[in-house]
Amino acid sequence: MIRYVVSRLGLAIVMALLATLVIFLIANTVPGDPVLAQLGDVAASNKEFLAQYRAKWGLDLPLWERYFIFLKGLVHGDLGISIATQRPVIEDIAAYAPATIELATAGFLLSMLVGIPLGILAAVRRDSWIDHTARFLSLIGVSSPTFWLAFIMLAVFYGGLQIAPGPGRLDSIALPPPAITGLFLVDTLLEGDWDAFRDALGHLVLPSVVLAATTLGLITRTTRASMLESMQQDYVRMARAKGLKERAVVISHVLPNALIPVVTLAGLAYANLLTGAVMTETVFSWPGLGLYTFRSAAALDFPAIMGITIVVAVTYLLINLIVDISYALLDPRVLR
């Protein structure tokens, strides 16, 4: 087991290193000179100033040397300075991350709590109306463009019916709670401020529903398929043969085995939610990493784009690592 964990960890570290190289190359071998883009025509026409500027940012060094400087900074948690906000990228990311974690976790819980029971029901009552409805719903969920779904939700529940709060994490006049964890739901609870808690919760509903829609479809379908697969196994036939009630067969024999693939998918889904909230956050003006990514991309803020891509790739790798290890714990056959 330990050997397995160490080898997976080693692989993850190698992949993370390679990932930084890829990102570095993307940002540094783009067509078009970043210096010219940042300086403007007048400053760029001055040869001496141009050389000075290149020297200041180390842009006159060969590519590999720049990569090592970049890597050295990375080890010290230095992702560079954002051009747009003029702050260290790592500080920006730390400031924007909690909003995304809160949103992604809410969306994740929502899709699991609805998706798994729906998938189980669809498999147990195969070809019934529940099965067909679940299939139809998951197809709709997978096929809806997130940015459009977000707009429709806002237009209907905020603009039209006026039963949901607008974009953002809190009402525009409300002050954010004192930053303890940065997760508004947790911070307001710690403060015992129930009104602010309700406010934050209300603002979380629409974006987390939108974020959950795609994942919900995937979870439902995987659960259903995996359940159907397990239900054809011999040990299930055996359990039925010895006279167990169908409910007992499903709960204690089919489910534990059927949920293993769902665990893998759940990990990946959470990673996707954490990193894929760009659309949802943009439409809901949710001040998270997604919105930060969007703003950086729109402003061609390369230090920020590089920083966020690295953080996101490392998160992705980390979650995959956790999934692999928990998979090995759940299904010892993996180790052999």
Partner: protein, 291 residues
Amino acid sequence: MNVLNVALESKMLPPSSRTRRWMRRYGLASLGAGIILLWLLIALTAPLISPYLPDTVDVANRLQPPSLEHWLGTDALGRDVLTRLLYGSRISLMTGFIVVVVSAVFGTLIGGIAAFARGKVEELIMRVTDLVLCFPPIILALAIAAALGIGTTNTIIAMLVVWWPKFSRLARGLVIVQRSQEYVEAALVVGFSPSRILVRHIIPNAIGTLIVLVTLDVGNAIITFAGLSFLGLGVVPPTPEWGSMVAEGRELVEQWWVASFPGLAILTIVLGFNFLGDGIRDWLDPKSRRR
């Protein structure tokens, strides 16, 4: 399905029940195929069936709600939403097909080579594949598209970079299964070259699964391209494109028609591909076939 079943189905069932059975088996896929064909037809004939021109600005008639003159209303520049929506199908279908077909062909070849070559080559190819897969697709595509600059071609390139690995991984898995089959050994014994066996024998046998993935994936590619456009990276304005149309109407909650209809267009076309892919999967995989 055995002969008896076929006989039962065609001879003994009353017509209504036969229709229902046909609907169950092919209904979803036919519906999907129908939706896709309809959009293809619209894309091909857009200039003929559109009531206006896609970029005629008419400020006097801006943000008109749906009416007899403008069935789906007008946008902030007074352009006809229906016309832009019909024209928008061209970009969406084109980018969807290009991204998926190019990366499917490339990925399949690469994955097939990996599975067939084994050893160091396989190791190298699969590590590169894993490397690309360790980035979330949207973020990597966003970074590359931002680096290359706004524009349809650049966005397609960015998407291609993140798109092929899943095909190479899938193709490798399929080829490994096929490689151990007897017909491959037979072909090797006869003295065919590995590349010939791969292209002429193995890939045709594994193509079914690939087709499902490709079909399902066109919808995926269309959504992603529209998403990048929505974020301002896809097409250059004023090109009529669904994602950027939603972006233009994003702030206009009162004038809901500007953003709603293009989004609905994306939903229907992607639903079409997903219906079709789901239906094909049911035929190919007898285990998941619905009775």
